[in-house]
Subunit: 338 residues, 4 copies
C-alpha cells in the first residue's frame, strides 16, 4: 500500500503513522518528493482499509498495490478451481455447462415439463426461481418453499441438478437440503450476512454480479463466502446497469478473461438477464462462449407470453435447442466442448 | 398503461390481449397508426408488469402512464406525512431534524461521549453503526448486539433517540426493542425480505437510497414497507455511484423537491456518505437545507483519525457545532427552523 | 407519439394542443382514463421533440412510439447496407473486415513497417491516428497532416485502404483527399457541425459510439450524417464508460444484433479501446465475431512498450497473427468468412 | 508518480525503465515488497501518461500522486481568479452573478423582450443559444450568426453582457467580435481543437462539464484553454448523466467546494439543464448558492410552452423574479451578495 502525505506533515505525525503501520506487521519504505512524502507499506495490507487511513488530515492519497483479496486470488492459488454441482463439473477445462429453465417455478407440472424440454435440448442443470426479487410488492413473488420442492421433484424425474436463488438467511435450511447450486442474486451480492451464512455450508454458490458492482467488489463478495469456509464459488455475470435503454442491462464479457486472470474460480454468463430480450440471447450467448465462459445460464419457457415473470427474456425450447447446436460449433472453434 | 403493438399483429392476438387486460378490470382505448396499433389501458395498472407484457412477441413497447406505487403516492395522500421518532417529529413543516454520531459504535464510553458532544452542539438524534456492511471480510464488522445495547445506554443518559442499521432479518427483535429509527442501508434497499419484515413493525424506518437505484425503485422499496403495514418511512439520500473519483458518491439534491412532489414522506440527507470527505460536508449540508431537506444525518467523531471505520467522512464536534450555527441561518433564510 | 395530459387540463388547452399537432399533419386519437387524458398522435412525429411538448404545464408524460430516425431505420430500408471502403466491402454477408495498425502514426517508416506487418497477418485496412484526442494538453497530440501523408504513403506501398480520425472541420479537405474511411471519434459523436460536414462528402464514415451515449443517440448521430447526404456510415462500438476500474471501458456486444435489428448499417468492434488491455483483446475479439460483427478494429504495434500513445492496448504483430487464425475459426463456426 | 512492477521483473528491464524516467528529469525512490517492486518518481510528472507506462508488460500498476494539471492548480496559484465579463466580476468574494435568458434566441424582438425582463428581475448577464446542439437533425438548430447579432442588439439596449455557445472553430470570429462570455457546451468539453482555439483568445470562456466527465477531465479541459494562453476560464456544472429518469441530469453540487479546493477558478451552476424541469429549478438554485456557487445560469422564457427548444426547463419571468428574492436571502445567510 502506498500512502502519500502532504509535504508539511509534522515529524511527530509521520512517526505516529509509521509506528501504527509497523504495529500491524508492515515494513515502511520512506521517500520524499518535491510536493509530497510517500510511505510504501510492504507486507500483507489486506486488513487495512484505504478510507480509514484517508481519515488522517495529513494523508492526501492512499493506493493499494496488491489485491484486497487472498483466498480468491490466483496469485496464491494458480490452478483453476473446478466446482462439482451434483456431479456436473464446472470450470477449468471441463465441458461448458448449460443451465436452463424458466425464470420462475410456476407449478410442479410446469417445471417438470420445462426440465424435460431443456434436458432434451442438451442442458445439464435446471434453473427456476422459487423466491423472486421483484421491484414491486404487487408483482408475483414466487412460490417459495413449494417451488423449492417442485424443483426437487423435477430433479428426481430428470436427474438434472437444480439452481435457485436464496433471498434470506431464514430459508437457508430449505436450500441446504434441496438445492444443488445456491444462487445469490444481483441485489444480494453485498448482503454480507447472507454471504457469511452460505459460506458456512459446503454447497456450491452461484454468485451473481451486483447491478452496479465493480469486479473488485464482486471478488470481495466471493472472498466473504470463502473466508467463511466455502471454496465452491462460481461467478455469474448478468449484465450491469448502464445508461442504455434498448437493453435491460449491459453484458460485460471482458469479465471472463479478467476473472480468470485475477482469480481461480469458474465464470458463467446469463444472457437472459443481461439483455432482457429473447432476440438478443443467441448472439450474446455465442459471444460468451467465444470469450471463454465456463457455462451459460439461459431462461427457457415453453410459453413465454404466459410466463408469470420475465417472459420477455425467455427462449422457447425449440429456439433453445437451435442455440445449443450453434453454441457447440463455437465451443469447438475455441477448443472447448459443450 | 399504453401498449404498442406491431402493425401486422393478427386480429386473434389483439383480441386475446384485450381480453386479458379486460379480465384485470381495465378498459381499453384502441387506436391505429400508420406503423403501429396502440392500446390505451384505463384503470389501476399497478399490478401489471411492463416486462411481462413485453414478453408477447407482437408487443413493441409498453409505457406506464401513472405511477407504479399507491401508498407512497402523493396523488392519493396529499398531506405531508410527519413521522414521530421517539418524540422528535420529522417531515411536514416541522423543525429540521439533525441526526449525528460516529459511523460505528466502538465502545460504551465512546458512544456516550459522542452522544453528549453532538447533543451539546444541537443534534436531536444519535446515530452509530452496530452492524456494519463492509466491502472486505477482513475489515471491522461492528460490535453487533453489544453495540445496540451501548446505543440504548447512550439514549438513557442523553435522552437522544437512536438510529442504527439493520442488516438481517435475524436481528429484527433486537432492533424492535432497542432502536428508535431502524435504518435500511443502501446495499439492502432491495433486500425485499428485510423490507417486508420491518414493514410488519410500527417502528419508523430510515430508508437509504441504493447505490445505483432510480428514484422510482426507491419509492417502490418504501411501498414494500408500507404495503406490509408500516406507514412510518423516511427517505435518506446518501449519494449515488457515478464515474466521479474525487468524491465517494454523488449527492443528488434534486431528490428533495422530487420526492416531495411524488410522495408525502419526509426526506433527509446524509452528506457524510454522499461525499466521503469531511471537508465537503458543510457546504453540501447547507445546500441540502436550502433545497428543502427535512433533516440531516452527519457523522461526527471526537477523534476521526482513530475511527474504526469511515473517519474520512466524520466531522470533529467543534466543526459540527459550527456547521449547526450556519445551518440555522440557511434554514431561517428558507423559512424553516433547525 | 403518446401525450399524457393531467386530468384537470382545461378544454381550451386541450383544443390548442390538438390544433397544434394537427397543424403538423398528425391525426389524434383521444382517450380519457381515471387520472389522465391520453392523446395518441398518428403520423410522422420525427420532427417533434418530446421535451418541447413537456414544456406545457398540463402535459405529464410524452412517449415516442416509433423511432426518431428515418434514414437509418431498417423499417424503411430492409436490406443491409454494404459500404465500399477503397474496394473492401463491409456489411451484409461480406467477409468480416479487419482494420489494424498503431494507435498513432509516429513516423513514415514506423507506419509503413506496421502496415506491412498487419497486411502479412491478414488485415485488410490500416489504421493510425494523425490527430490524437488526448485528455492532457501535455501529451503527444499526433503528427497532424504529416501523419495523414504518412498513411497515404503506407497505402501506396501496401495497397491497404486507410482509416484515421478527424477532429475538426478545419481538416476536412485533408481527409477528403487522402483518407479512405473517415473516423469520427467517441468524443466527437455529438459534434454536430462535424457530422454535418462529413455528411456532405461521399467518403465512408466510421462513427464511434460516444463514451456514455445511448444506442439511440448513436443512431441519431448517424442520421445527422445521412440527412446531410452521405449514406456510407459504419458503426464502431469501442466500449462505454462504466464504474469498472479494471478495464478502460465496458464493451457492449449486444449492440451488434440490436443495431442490425434497428438499422441497416454495418457494425464493427474495437476491442482495443473497449478493454484498454492487450491481454483482453483476443477473447473479446472472438466474442465480437461470434456475436455477428461485420469487422474488427485492432491496435497493433511492433513495439507497444515504446508507443507514443496507448501502447497498453496494442498487440504485437505475432500475437495479432495468432488472433487472426483463431478469429477465422470462430467466423466459420457462425457461417462467416474472415 | 508511483510505478509498481511485478516481482519477477528482470534487472535489465528495471534499469531500462529507471533510465527512461531519469531522462525525463525525475528522481527515483526504489522499494521492494514481498510481491511487488515499487518505483516512486519524484519531480514534475505531468508530461507522463499513466497508460503509456502501463503498456510495459512488467508494470502492474501506475498511480499519479500529484495532479496532472498545473495552470489550473490551486497549489501553484493560491489566490482566487476573478474573471471580468463585460464589466461583471465573477469569482472570489464578488457578488454572485446571475445569467438568465431563453434556451435559444428565437428572434430579435423575443431576445430583447427576454433581456429586459431578466434585467428587471435582477439578472446581470443575458444568455441565449444561437447555435444549438440538438440530438436530432430534424430539430430546430438555432438562428446561427443572425442569433449572435440579435444578442448583440439586446446587449446594446439593456447593457447586459451576453453568453452563448460556440459549436465549431469555423465561427470563432463571430464570437470573438460579438460575445462577452463564450460557452463551450457539455458535448464539446473534450473537443480539443475548439479548446485550443478559444485558448488563443483572451475572451472569458464558460466551460460546461461533459455529460459523463470526471472532475479531473473537466479541469484538464480548462488546462487546455489555459495552456493555449487564456486564463479566463469559468466552470459551469450542468448535471451529469446518471441512471435517474425522473430528472434530465443529476446535479453535482459537491463540485463547488471541490473545484475551489483544487483550482482557483470560478464555478457557476446551471439548474435548468441539470434538472430539465422548471419546478425543480428554485430549490436546486438555492442549494447551489448555499454550497458556495459564484453564479447561476438559469433559463427564463416569457412563454415556455411556445419555446422552440427546452421550454420544459425554463422559468417564466415572474417565477424567476421570485427566485431572485429567495436567492438573495440564502446568499446573505452564507455571507455573500447577489
Amino acid at each position: 500500500m502506498i500512502v502519500t502525505l502532504k509535504k508539511q506533515t509534522p515529524k511527530t505525525e509521520i512517526n505516529r503513522l509509521t509506528g501504527l503501520f509497523e504495529s500491524r506487521g508492515l515494513k515502511i519504505h520512506f521517500s520524499e518528493g518535491d510536493n509530497y512524502i510517500v510511505l510504501g507499506l510492504v507486507g500483507d495490507a489486506t486488513q487495512l482499509s484505504e478510507r480509514d487511513i484517508l481519515a488522517n488530515e495529513w494523508v492526501s492519497n492512499v493506493q493499494r498495490v496488491g489485491a484486497p483479496y487472498k483466498l480468491a486470488n490466483r496469485m496464491f492459488h494458480p490452478d483453476d478451481t473446478v466446482v462439482d454441482v451434483g456431479g456436473i463439473k464446472i470450470g477449468g477445462h471441463e465441458k461448458i455447462a448449460v443451465i436452463a429453465g424458466p425464470c420462475a417455478v410456476e407449478s410442479e407440472e410446469a417445471i417438470i415439463e420445462a426440465a424435460k424440454e431443456v434436458k432434451e435440448a442438451g442442458a445439464e442443470l435446471l434453473r427456476g426461481g422459487a423466491y423472486k426479487p421483484r421491484t414491486s410488492p404487487y408483482s408475483f413473488q414466487g412460490l417459495g418453499y413449494e417451488g423449492i420442492l417442485d424443483l426437487a421433484k423435477a430433479r428426481e424425474i430428470t436427474g438434472l441438478p437444480v439452481v435457485t436463488e436464496i433471498m434470506s438467511v431464514d430459508h437457508l435450511e430449505e436450500f441446504a437440503e434441496n438445492v444443488d447450486l445456491i444462487q445469490i442474486g444481483a441485489r444480494n451480492m453485498q448482503n454480507f450476512d447472507l454471504l457469511k451464512e452460505v459460506g458456512k455450508l459446503k454447497k456450491p454458490v452461484l454468485l451473481k454480479r451486483g447491478m452496479s458492482a465493480t469486479i473488485e467488489e464482486w471478488i470481495m463478495a466471493a472472498e466473504y463466502i470463502m473466508a467463511s469456509g466455502n471454496p465452491n464459488v462460481i461467478f455469474c455475470e448478468r449484465g450491469i446497469r448502464t445508461f442504455e435503454k434498448y437493453t435491460r442491462n449491459t453484458l460485460d464479457l471482458a469479465v471472463i478473461p479478467l476473472l480468470k486472470e485475477k482469480t481461480h474460480l469458474p465464470v458463467i454468463i446469463d444472457p437472459s438477464h443481461a439483455t432482457g430480450d429473447w432476440k438478443l440471447i443467441e448472439p450474446v450467448a455465442l459471444a460468451a462462449i467465444a470469450a471463454g465462459a465456463d457455462g451459460l445460464m439461459i431462461e427457457v419457457h415453453p410459453h413465454p407470453e404466459c410466463a408469470l415473470s420475465d417472459g420477455a427474456q425467455s427462449l422457447k425450447p425449440a429456439k433453445f435447442a437451435e442455440l445449443m447446436k450453434k453454441a457447440r460449433k463455437v465451443a469447438n472453434a475455441v477448443g472447448r466442448d459443450l
